[in-house]
């Protein structure tokens, strides 16, 4: 515990020290890296089976106490948070160089380190007040990072959307915790007990934490905020910050006692909606970071599906489904942190090299940025859930649980299981298509614009974090079956099932995984041998290089290549009803066509319909009270005085 708190202090101290001019952000990044490495030690110790350390200090705030603890669940979320924060900090040093002299880099590091520290505090806080304070710190720190480029209108708007969304979420959490605390008579997490109206509390927690996690339709801030933030911050926000929402939800479930079936159903439906719509909207984007942001919605959906299946398994007494559902969901939290972090860092490297996020301006970057291209490809394969990478392992666990549920039990378990299987399969296929598009358009072919043709490989400080994450993708994929046992303490805590049941279920899942990993390992070895043979055979022959895109045209130009929207068009047309893509085209006419143009745009359908109407309604409603705002201090104080006197009289009546 001491080590983690010391790490927390080091992170914060680094943030404040970076405010000094001339520190060039190295102090901030150094503090983040050192603090996170210190924190990893106790987190791993707890995951390895150590007893959870805790600390309780009095705090003058009413109802508050500085009560922190690292139990298995906290440690499980701490590991990706700490690891990705450290890697992001290393990457950020090089990434922020571009703004050197034009922006207050020190402030950005202060916000970054505060974000890291508050995420740590959120996962270890065991007191409602402490938790909410850390939660708000997290929201504010990330807000300041989103508006880092505040001179751009889009950034300010994204920051504003994010601020409104996160505060609406916190309002629900405030209601959740205050009501729960009042019923329990204490604000300590370990004294909160199941309330009488548990369903209401579940909905409050789902909305409150779901806003941060990005469940549809509460996800609207994600596709705006992630592209606006600097890339290492996007990686951190998308990789781990939104996972604090998942953490909060899982933690809240442990307070709420016996679980009705409809909670599981709700989570499953929310997960299916987020997963499917998330990936569909990702498919229709042509801003690289926006595409990745929608994929975060998709992956959060997969996590929610796993949690939903787990809850249903618990309710209907099906331990295999429960354990594998939760295992898949929790492992996917870690995996998504790794590959989404990797992909955002890769996207950042591309932006760093080309100054654009527009995929239709890019192309042919594989030759110019081999490391970025290779690691991005690994991340893309992992997020599509392809073996032998880590995304496959967690999705496979959910599949396996769902198959068990579908075959071994009655209709109440079989129906959601089959729905989950079908949904996951569709999501996986669409995700693969989407990343074929992203990788293909950005890295293959020929450059579509001047931005891409002048691209250069990322500096080493940006390359190394990407390499580490790519290696982690492969390592978890291959060593997954061996790592399964480390999930046991978390699952025992979350599901409250007998430890023996949990371990047997995990071992059961590890068996097929072992075969798959072994087979994949063999395949990799084979591929390496073939590559070696190719290199040996080619070593004595002359090698010609030719253009990538020829296609038998007399005068090929890069503009003949598939664009991101044309590649995705068959799929986006298929789902046109949901996507409502807006197209503006002026087709070529006549025998000697002159100018032609085509543009497509897919705005978020929830934002355009639900939220816009809701906020327009709210604005209309509040404008009815505009007469109260006279702009005169007297009147405002008169309002206060009248309210006070009225309350006094009413209270003493």
């Amino acid at each position: 515990m001491t080590l983690l708190l010391a790490g927390l202090f080091v992170v914060l101290a680094g943030g404040f020290l970076s405010l000094f001019p001339r520190s060039s952000g190295l102090l901030g990044a150094g503090g983040a890296v050192a603090g996170c490495l210190m924190g990893l030690v106790p987190a791993f110790a707890v995951l390895a089976g150590g007893s959870p350390p805790s600390l309780r200090l009095p705090w003058a705030v009413p109802g508050g106490s500085f009560h922190v603890e690292i139990d298995a669940l906290s440690a499980f979320f701490l590991v990706p948070i700490l690891a990705l924060s450290a890697l992001g900090a290393v990457y950020g040093v090089a990434y922020l160089q571009a703004w050197r002299g034009r922006k207050a880099i020190g402030l950005a590091w202060l916000a970054y380190n505060t974000l890291v520290a508050s995420m740590i505090l959120v996962t270890i806080a065991r007191n409602v007040v402490l938790f909410l304070v850390a939660w708000e710190m997290m929201a504010l720190a990330s807000f300041f990072l989103v508006v880092f480029e505040h001179e751009r209108e889009a950034s300010r708007e994204a920051g504003w959307t994010y601020l409104v969304a996160t505060h609406l979420g916190t309002a629900f959490l405030l209601a959740f915790f205050l009501m729960l605390g009042r019923e329990s008579g204490s604000f300590e997490f370990d004294r909160l007990h199941p309330p009488s109206q548990a369903g209401l509390f579940f909905v409050l927690a789902l909305v409150g934490f779901g806003t941060k996690a990005g469940f549809m339709p509460l996800h609207v801030w994600l596709p705006d905020a992630h592209p606006a933030a600097p890339s290492h911050v996007s990686a951190l926000m998308s990789g781990v910050m939104i996972k604090t929402g998942v953490y909060g939800l899982v933690r809240a479930l442990t307070f709420l006692g016996p679980l009705p079936a409809w909670w599981g159903w709700t989570l499953l439906v929310v997960g299916l909606t987020s997963g499917l719509l998330g990936v569909l909207f990702a498919l229709a984007q042509h801003d690289l970071k926006r595409l990745l942001a929608y994929h975060s919605v998709e992956n959060i959906g997969i996590i929610a599906m796993g949690l939903g299946l787990g809850l249903l398994g618990l309710h209907y007494g099906n331990p295999v489904l429960a354990v594998l559902g939760f295992a898949g969901a929790l492992l996917h939290v870690v995996n998504h942190a790794i590959f989404k972090g990797l992909l955002f860092l890769g996207a950042g490297a591309v932006i760093h090299a080309t100054q654009t996020r527009e995929m239709d301006e890019l192309g042919g970057l594989m030759k110019r940025m081999p490391l970025t291209g290779a690691t991005f490809l690994i991340g893309a394969a992992a997020i599509s859930g392809l073996p032998p990478l880590n995304g496959f392992v967690s999705e496979f666990l959910i599949y396996l649980g769902a198959y068990r549920g579908a075959t071994s039990a009655g209709a109440p378990v079989a129906v959601p299981s089959i729905a989950a299987i079908a949904g996951l399969a569709l999501i996986g296929g669409l995700a693969a298509a989407c990343f074929a598009k992203a990788c293909g358009v950005v890295f293959l072919g020929e450059p579509r614009g001047a931005h891409a043709s002048g691209a250069h490989e990322a500096p080493r400080a940006m390359g190394i974090p990407m390499l580490v994450l790519a290696v982690a993708c492969v390592a978890i994929g291959l060593l997954g079956p061996l790592l399964m046992r480390t999930l046991a303490p978390v699952l025992i805590q979350v599901t409250a099932l007998p430890p023996a049941d949990v371990v047997t279920s995990i071992d059961e899942a590890a068996r097929p995984l072992r075969f798959i990993a072994g087979g994949a390992g063999g395949f990799l070895v084979l591929a390496a041998l073939l590559a070696l043979a190719r290199a040996v055979l080619l070593s004595r022959r002359p090698i010609h290089e030719s253009v990538t895109w020829d296609c038998g045209y007399a005068r090929p130009t890069p503009r003949m290549q598939y664009t991101s929207s044309s590649f995705a068009q068959p799929l986006t047309d298929l789902f046109g009803l949901v996507l409502r893509t807006k197209r503006r085209a002026s087709a070529p006419r006549g025998y000697f066509p002159g100018e032609a143009a085509f543009a497509s745009e897919t705005p978020d359908v929830w934002r355009e319909t639900l939220w816009r109407r809701l906020f327009a309604g709210a604005t209309w409603g509040f404008s009815k009270f505009a007469w109260l705002q006279q702009g005169r201090v007297h009147l405002y104080i008169l309002y206060i005085a009248l309210t006070l006197v009225a309350l006094l009289i009413w209270g003493l009546r």
């Binding site: 007297h634 104080i637 006197v645």
Partner: protein
């Protein structure tokens, strides 16, 4: 001792009425200062049989702050802003006094309903304290000059102080010092703000500062 405390309370009520009925800023500043000094003696009067260094320090500190420092700052602000009278308040002086008497009635009624955690030193304390708070609020609301708002704020603080010292008695010193520091900073900031408002707009009429209205 109770008699002394009651005398202070009567003084408080009378000075409040004076505050409502006068247009001269200098008189208002002095009135609030007198209130402050009188209230400063309360901790000593209230706990005369167990006099401690802490209480004496508290009394001396608050009396000197309210009786010397604040009037000094306010007089300086008055000189700098070159304002001597409250001209055309929102509520006239006669009406103000009538409203003041009305709020005195409300305070007395409310005091009869409030149950206190401990025995009160005197039955006059509660109505007088409430009355002072209400008068402070009323002055803030009904006067035009920014300086009068500060005075109203000080009167309100006096009411809160009276409430605290006599009823609770054992206010932790740290809290009391914190409150005093708050008020001190507030008066200082307002003094500076008044000076700047004056320099910027050539007047300190608060009702004309509504440019930020949406």
């Amino acid at each position: 001792m109770t008699q002394m405390i009651e005398a202070v309370m009567v003084l408080l009520v009378l000075t409040n009425l004076l505050l409502l009925g006068t247009s001269r800023l200098a008189t208002c500043i002095r009135t609030v200062a007198i209130q402050g000094v009188a209230l400063g003696t309360l901790p000593v009067l209230g706990h005369a049989h167990e006099l401690s260094l802490r209480l004496v320090l508290l009394a001396v500190g608050s009396a000197s702050l309210k009786g010397v420092v604040f009037p000094f700052l306010l007089f300086r602000a008055m000189r700098e802003a070159d304002v001597r009278h409250e001209i055309e308040p929102f509520v006239g002086y006669t009406a103000s006094i009538l409203i003041g008497i009305g709020s005195l009635a409300v305070s007395v009624w409310a005091s009869s309903r409030i149950t206190l955690p401990g025995p009160a030193v005197s039955s006059l304390v509660l109505p007088a304290a409430l009355f002072t708070i209400l008068v402070g609020l009323f002055v803030i609301v009904s006067r035009r000059k920014a300086l009068m708002q500060v005075i109203g704020y000080l009167a309100m603080e006096n009411g809160i102080y009276a409430f605290g010292v006599v009823l609770v008695g054992e206010i932790p010193m740290l809290v009391e010092l914190g409150v005093l520091l708050d008020v001190f900073v507030a008066v200082l900031v307002m003094g500076i703000a008044i000076y700047h408002i004056r320099r910027e707009y050539d007047h300190i009429d608060v009702d004309e500062l509504d440019a930020l209205k949406g």
